[in-house]
Subunit: 249 residues, 2 copies
């Protein structure tokens, strides 16, 4: 509700806040968010996920959550859990095929409610999946969660890196000032049935992005059709625990 | 400039306005926009393209345009041309690696300028690449260009279709009322060196989306690494002239 404090913004909060972002859509932000959250939960951490991609919300389906959250006395909402992770998403409040046709101010309010009206307790990690781009939602979140650390996802091609990097540069801008702790390259290669390795989307985007943002390249994830299948039916698989990714977080 | 009329909105305008959209980013909207625009130009049509993906602008780089537009007397801008297409993009006004960190109202103004301050003449087609999602920009454009017809792009997996369809449902909503004339499925299959055909992203998304939006599936485009390479270096290739795509438009 308006005016209620965001617990994660409190300097004394023990929760580490990870923003998973990219200037470019379709690079695997949601998949990386789910992958990272599950890896952390498997290490015994208490993990909360906020699906802030309000137009492209996909986390509930990826985690196989189809029951809405339960509401306590009129204003506190208990986030549903799956695979050891608590989740908030706009997908709980609109039907799967209902477009969220909202302008900036409505979005800002919805995000505020995720952060203040959901009962989170004090998780070890809050992982937030941002929408693509550098518009209203990313700006509002940076305001609500000033203690965040950002991770930027790209695919290997230069065209994707050029767009993905804009989210990193926004975080590093004087208006936003959120540190970029790492870069993840996704769909780095595909291995065919005969063992041939295809760089479908080229190479070098991860390294280029890491250099441009002066942040470590903490993982390269191959294109694994089973990962896509898992996401389609709500039973996510964890691809190669990118040594750096969960460990770095 | 504010208040100047948008010529394409005039009921007497001869220009057909095609909006290329998707609820989901990274499905190939920009590639389809470029592919369609070049196919039309090769048939002798006069084609204008507006890159309205203000956060993920990529059209100038895909077309190899690196010279900014020239400005006539103080307010009329001549759009640069490449491959027989005139182009407007936010990419002309910001550096490639500078994030456009704007909220809704600023975006609305920038789009209005593309449509009123650029000297377009009267092209046969105006093709507009929309940002992913169903937020401010899509709403503003629908208001500026009420005579539009929409084309929705998806990749084959159910998770992508569920998100891609939201743009189509927004167009068909009573607030927006723009007809969806067709669906395009992209990255439908990849053929390895040994001829094995891989459905990396599954199948059925195109058909499902066409059924859900009650619109024809006008093309399926394979994942062709040369298309990606062309986009990276500014020499676009036209993939399989999807029989329906250019013909339908
Ligand atoms: N490494 C991967 N291997 C196979 N499929 C992937 C991989 N990463 C993402 N995908 C698939 O690609 C699509 C786009 O990924 P998604 O996480 O939705 O991207 P974003 O959140 O950036 O839009 C999804 O259908 C997802 O299942
Ligand atoms: N059919 C295709 N074959 C190979 N690469 C493709 C194809 N369609 C798109 N791509 C590549 O995938 C990436 C995403 O495409 P893009 O057109 O930028 O998507 P969007 O505009 O939906 O974000 C680009 O690097 C592009 O070159």
């Amino acid at each position: 509700a308006e005016g209620r404090a965001v617990s994660f913004a409190d300097p004394g909060s023990r929760t580490r806040v990870l923003l998973v972002a990219s200037g470019k859509g379709g690079v695997g932000k949601s998949s990386v968010t789910v992958n990272l959250a599950i890896s952390l939960a498997r290490r015994g951490k208490r993990v909360a996920v906020v699906d802030a991609d309000v137009w492209g919300f996909s986390i509930p389906a990826m985690l196989g959550i189809d029951a809405p959250p339960s509401v306590l006395d009129d204003s506190m909402i208990i986030p549903p859990q799956a695979h050891g992770i608590s989740v908030a998403s706009i997908g709980f409040f609109v039907r799967e095929d209902q477009p969220v046709v909202w302008r900036g101010p409505m979005l800002h309010k919805a995000l505020e409610q995720f952060l203040t009206d959901f009962y989170w307790g004090e998780p070890d990690y809050l992982v937030v999946d941002l929408p693509p781009g550098t518009g209203d939602i990313s700006l509002s979140l940076a305001g609500f969660l000033p203690r965040s650390e950002a991770y930027v996802v790209t695919t290997p091609q230069p065209a994707a890196q050029r767009v993905a990097q804009r989210a990193g540069l926004m975080f590093q801008s004087p208006q936003v000032k959120i540190p970029v702790h790492g870069v993840i390259e996704n769909m780095s290669w595909f291995t065919g049935d005969d063992g041939t390795r295809y760089e479908l989307f080229g190479s070098g985007g991860g390294e280029g992005l890491a250099e441009r943002l002066d942040a470590p390249l903490i993982g390269k994830v191959p294109l694994v059709p089973a990962l896509r299948e898992g996401g389609d039916v709500g039973t996510p698989i964890v691809v190669t625990e990118p040594e750096g990714e969960a460990a770095a977080a």
